[in-house]
Symmetry: C2
Subunit: 204 residues, 2 copies
Amino acid sequence: MARPKTVPDKKPSRELLLEAAFDLIRSQGFGATTVDAICERAGVSKGTFFHNFKSKEDLGVEAANHWSKVTSELFAGAPYHGKKDPLERFLGYVRFRKEILKGELAEFTCLVGTMIQEVYASHPGVNRACFDSISRHAGNLVKDIEEAKKVHAPKDKWSPRSLALHTQAVLQGAFILAKASADRGLAVESIEHLENYIRLLFKK
Amino acid sequence: MARPKTVPDKKPSRELLLEAAFDLIRSQGFGATTVDAICERAGVSKGTFFHNFKSKEDLGVEAANHWSKVTSELFAGAPYHGKKDPLERFLGYVRFRKEILKGELAEFTCLVGTMIQEVYASHPGVNRACFDSISRHAGNLVKDIEEAKKVHAPKDKWSPRSLALHTQAVLQGAFILAKASADRGLAVESIEHLENYIRLLFKK
């Protein structure tokens, strides 16, 4: 009797479509990415697309939400959380951001930062989901920054949340420099200025 | 004899088209901006568009070049150049960037930073013109940073050019936060962290 064929796990169409959207939007932006191109990349029909998403705008919202989920898992599992000193955890986060600048530009730059540039006025729902992603990601840094501030810079006037958001501004700007120059080196240098700022701010 | 009618100065079609491109691309990105929409906003015919530009890509290149020209004039005429201390000139530049965050988001955010996100892989000619714009703008800061470094931080290892580019990364990232949150306040806070970094770096 023949053994049953091993069937490789097949990803659900929804996930294939979201991953295709990640690739295309990170390569060329939201405006230039058509539903047809997403279907072609995902290898699914247009009917399947519209079974999963009401519109391209809806896909944009869900792509931002899926981005939040995927990146949350990546950062939750990163090694810097194991450090005892809150400042070392925060600096470990910044160094981790530098370490993951690998592969092609479209593989390490930010889906939601890219989309915001185009959708902020024309697709407010997509923009909200993108800001929610950045805002929650920054929010995850606030506790470590607060603890580090209590120890190293208790009298300083800046707020931990503003510093968390500033790290995101630097990272987003660093991605733009990397894309513009086709050189991740400029992104690395900018993140190193951020590291330097954090050390100076905490007198370390 | 009747006096000749006063004819108001009419802008050349090329300039009307470039200004329409500025407005539309800063509002919704390069991908979502069609030649038809640019012509409609400029109030000129499609024939006139193609008399001035070979293609949408060519318009993108010329928009980035025109952006360089317009912004160069704005910054060349800004008051911070009059300060005697090179560090005060550099800090004056950063404060000036904060002061000009006025009006609508599309009026104070950056044309070339927005375009880079979308065009870096698909329209290399446009991307080159955008990087040239940012790179030359950053280049204008290098002399003041060099002079300030000689006086205040001669032994530090960072390069003046890397700090000039880092200022651009922060500004670009600050624009993304402003667009995402519809709140220029987040951009202001990020630029204030940059100011704080510069003061700490130069021990001022």
